[in-house]
Symmetry: C2
């Protein structure tokens, strides 16, 4: 597995100065993290993460895909090596890295675990989902559980001895969670009996941990219809007295990808459940899990793009095929390496722009999340609005672009990319789910335009536009051409949002018809901000480097070249999306269903 | 399997008037087809094709994917039912539908077999590849084989008793066929001994036919280097005396998709081969096979898009999830069908625009191929230039858009689209190869811009632009807004080509950097032409219909709506590609390999 360590360090230390960021958080909330993690501690975590990912996870990525999970008499067995790798993960103490020290966590800032997840997911997405899902359960219990529930579940989740799940989807309730039919009936002892079927439950049953803690959405008998009548329950596979609870895995799905992760049908048959928080508040609690999970899925898009980028870059350098149209570049060889062809370079740059720009957006969002959770009181609300705004962009855009990116990698490989042996096509199959689960691109788009723009009068966007303006100023001297495009993009984004908001308030069809294009537009603009920050940092580092060295550092030159590529070849796609938004809903809705469906 | 019969009939009879077209060919070359096929005969072929596809091929599509092919001691076994379906296909006499009557063919025009392949491929792409590959061998032998070779091989290929293959690729010679190392040494009897390894040979070995006729590219000892030293040989699995020839299947590939088709490594070990035509002319002969094959691959992109469109249209109509943002549309149901959501409609329209517009482009190209092969002498060269020009567009663009389209279908299905059971994800896996084999999108793009534009001074394009102009005139009265956009697009296309040609002649990097974007630009423009023709026909039929009926025909209304959707929501993508072309090669090539690869 090719490591992204250099790119990660550049972003963490140079672009976003996470050590300084942790110090600022520590000043804002003294004692929050003990000593705030410094650069050396961050590097130590990264180094250990690389070792674990390369040595334990990467070797079982393809074999996990080939073997998949299997079910025997309700027991699910993960692929060879998954269990052992999880045991090592527990030993390393990473399950509790960011958890509350009161329950055994190490209390480190959340972004540190993003770096680890980044490394692990680049090596093995299907495996990384198992510990990843525990995080959602931990967050939900931490935020909304009773003291007794926290004491009962968090210590085990934070050692990693137990894992967690999110049980939302039912056969007829996917995007529309409010249609869930799973019933919860309270007993004399205050415990609930949960009955119903949940599907598509990732890591729903497996052999890696002693117990599985399901966070389940269900409906009490007198609950109002729809999302307002959903409650959340914690339903452990083994109840607190050690007895087997009445939740069982009926089957596992045969899927396009992520074969190493068990996707389960879970049957709850009067299973014992404990109400989390209050009845009918389940949707609100669910978003505590869901928002964090959405950022993780955005990260998955980036990680698969990273993995495929590294492989296809190597392949493009080694594969000899045809001569450069300008004449032989490697006349001593039977043909030139395909990296000489401009369109192969375009595919490689596209992957870099997505994978590295996407990672920058993830880290920026993680820093924003840290500020929301631990920052100065005055900054928290601001950071929260920005985080709310960025979440659907991270999830929706980085998964869409991640899928594009892994497909470009296949294309670089040509026929060899279609063969399972090279491992590249697995990235495409794994990536395909990221556009769907934890809310499809369409759901993200409605969240962005409906909730995050219209319902808040664009609060998060306005904060982000200010931030872009600040960065534009610092960019004006070193990279005036990028600064000008970035400034114009920010102005256009604001204007487009105003116009769209006006028409969407008049006509809900205008909202529905524009949402996905608005998501893409916003994604390209947000990535322009990220590439601007990366370019500015790279430019300053290059100036510094030139004082000591006679030749440019290729790493910094590559970063600047990728930034320029992004601005000249990818960012212009926003114009198409703007045009689609301005075309309005008529071509979609002023036609009868009969006409649309008459094939 | 949902049939596309209605759409096919509309294109065949109404838009392109194939019966009239066959009559015109027959007048140009009297006796060429006996009686030219009339509408009734075409319909009879279509009906039988539908029956065969729905009853024999569709039921073994998913099982073929699940089972795949297997190899035992060099023998390859196709999935259950493949052999039986092929036997039926032979019985129906379709293997010889368009072949030369002198060798047992029925001598019908080529486009008729395109309609059949369309139906079969919509039902089962992996199966359809087996007879499809015979076609390439038949074409090559027909055009370049000796009389003795024709007599030896064509009758068996035209009954379907034997199948064919194209053996081009070697481990180190993919896009660059000139790197092929397979050797051919002539013996005293004039026969050649062929030695080497070919990979990625579709239908290279299987259990469906008594013999397999390999068309093999190889190099004689004194041949010049590169493509000028390639010769073509016919190498039968069983030699003409019935003895087993020394060609064997070493292994079959484990692939992302098309599991039902055997993709073979073929080892030639002093195998007996017969030289086709002259030595060192193999590349030229190869293009006889290849150009037809490229149109077939374009058709595959369309067929997978069609199949996924039909499924996802049904799903969008049946799946209940959330309410329309404008309020309940089906208040008696727990939720509205998802087709009410504007973005779901966008995804359905996108699929229709691609699948139906793509089919129109295929049929138009097939008509052009008929004219090239059988038309009036004066028209043949013109049709040939147009065909040459359209071929890389059909192959490159319709596979790229086909892949987009099947992915939109998955997205309509949401989580259920990722599950193998629904059959939708198979389309994505099957479609992925179409962007690669018979020349990647990148190869098509270089063919289009390099060979078909620069080397001919845009001959094919100029003919096509005239054709667009003609259609624009007929469209001006009924659909003036589409006519105006089409006219502007044609002007812009011509201008862009002139400017690009000028810069590409100065700088080969400008050619390489622009080629793929130029392919996409051209593809969108060509589809605009097709949608204009469809819209014009639908509009006239609608006027006719309105004389007799009080309500519009939803089929015609749907066609017009999809045409309008294409012009307003998809065609504008050309602007992005124009911008990318105009951005020039600097961002790709003015950066060192060290910088590009420094990850």
């Amino acid at each position: 597995m090719p490591s992204s360590l250099k790119d990660m360090r550049f972003l963490i230390h140079e672009v976003f100065d996470f050590a300084g960021h942790y110090q600022a958080l520590s000043r804002a909330q003294p004692g929050e993290f003990g000593e705030p993690p410094d650069a050396a501690l961050i590097d130590a975590v990264l180094d250990e993460g690389v070792r674990f990912s390369e040595q334990e996870l990467a070797p079982i990525n393809r074999s996990g895909d080939e073997q998949g999970c299997r079910i025997e008499a309700g027991e699910v067995f993960t692929p060879t090596g998954f269990k052992e790798a999880y045991a090592t993960y527990i030993e390393l103490g990473w399950a509790g890295l960011i958890g509350d020290p009161a329950y055994g966590g190490q209390g480190l800032p959340e972004s540190l675990s993003v770096f680890l997840e980044d490394l692990m997911c680049c090596a093995n997405m299907a495996w990384t989902m198992y510990p990843g899902l525990s995080r959602g359960a931990i967050n939900a219990l931490n935020a909304h559980g009773s003291e007794a529930q926290k004491e009962a579940f968090l210590p085990k989740l934070l050692t990693g001895a137990w894992t967690g799940t999110m049980c939302l989807t039912e056969p007829h309730a996917g995007s529309d969670v409010g249609l869930a039919k799973t019933r919860a009936e309270v007993g004399a002892d205050g415990r609930y009996a949960i009955t119903g079927t949940k599907i598509f439950i990732s890591a729903g049953e497996h052999d890696m941990a002693a117990n599985i803690v399901h966070l389940v959405l269900a409906r009490t008998p007198d609950a109002p219809a729809g999302t307002r009548g959903i409650s959340m329950f914690v339903v452990p596979k083994f109840d607190l007295d050690g007895s087997r609870n009445k939740v069982s895995c009926g089957s596992i799905e045969n899927k396009m990808g992520i074969h190493g992760n068990s996707t389960c049908v879970l049957n709850f048959d009067q299973a014992t459940g404990y109400l989390v928080g209050e009845e009918n508040q389940g949707m609100r609690y669910m978003f505590t899990m869901m928002n964090a999970a959405r950022l993780v899925v955005g990260l998955q898009g980036v990680c698969l793009a990273q993995a495929a980028l590294h492989s296809s870059m190597d392949y493009a350098t080694e594969r000899l095929q045809m001569r450069s149209l300008k004449g032989p570049v490697a006349p001593d060889k039977p043909a030139d390496p395909i990296i000489v062809h401009p369109d192969v370079r375009r595919m490689l740059f596209t992957q870099r722009a997505i994978a590295e720009g996407g990672r920058a957006l993830i880290y920026y969002t993680a820093q924003t999340a840290d500020r929301f959770l631990h920052g100065e009181a005055a900054d928290r609300e601001r950071a929260g609005s920005l985080l709310d705004f960025l979440t659907p962009i991270v999830k929706g855009m980085l998964t869409e672009l991640g899928f594009e990116s892994v497909n470009e990698a296949v294309q670089v490989y040509g026929g060899h990319g279609f063969i399972r042996e090279t491992g590249i096509e697995q990235h495409v199959r794994d990536a395909r789910i990221t556009l769907i689960y934890e809310g499809t691109t369409q759901i993200q788009a409605l969240d962005l335009l409906g909730r995050k723009i219209l319902m808040t009068q664009g609060k998060g966007l306005l904060i982000f536009l200010e931030e872009i303006k600040r960065v534009t100023e610092t960019l004006r001297e070193p990279l005036p051409e990028l600064a000008a495009v970035l400034a114009a993009t920010a102005d256009e984004w604001g204007q487009l949002t105003l116009e769209l908001s006006a028409s969407a308030q008049q006509d809900m069809d205008a909202l529905g018809a524009a949402a996905v294009d608005y998501l893409f537009y916003s994604g390209y603009a947000a990535l322009a901000y990220c590439w601007a920050r990366v370019a500015e940092t790279a430019w300053r580092a290059q100036q510094q480097h030139r004082q000591d060295a006679s030749e440019d550092d290729p790493y910094l030159a590559g970063k600047l070249a990728t930034a320029r590529f992004y601005f000249s070849r990818l960012l212009p796609r926003k114009d198409f999306h703007k045009q689609a938004i301005e075309a309005g809903p008529d071509s979609l809705v002023q036609v009868s269903d009969d006409a649309l469906t008459a094939l």
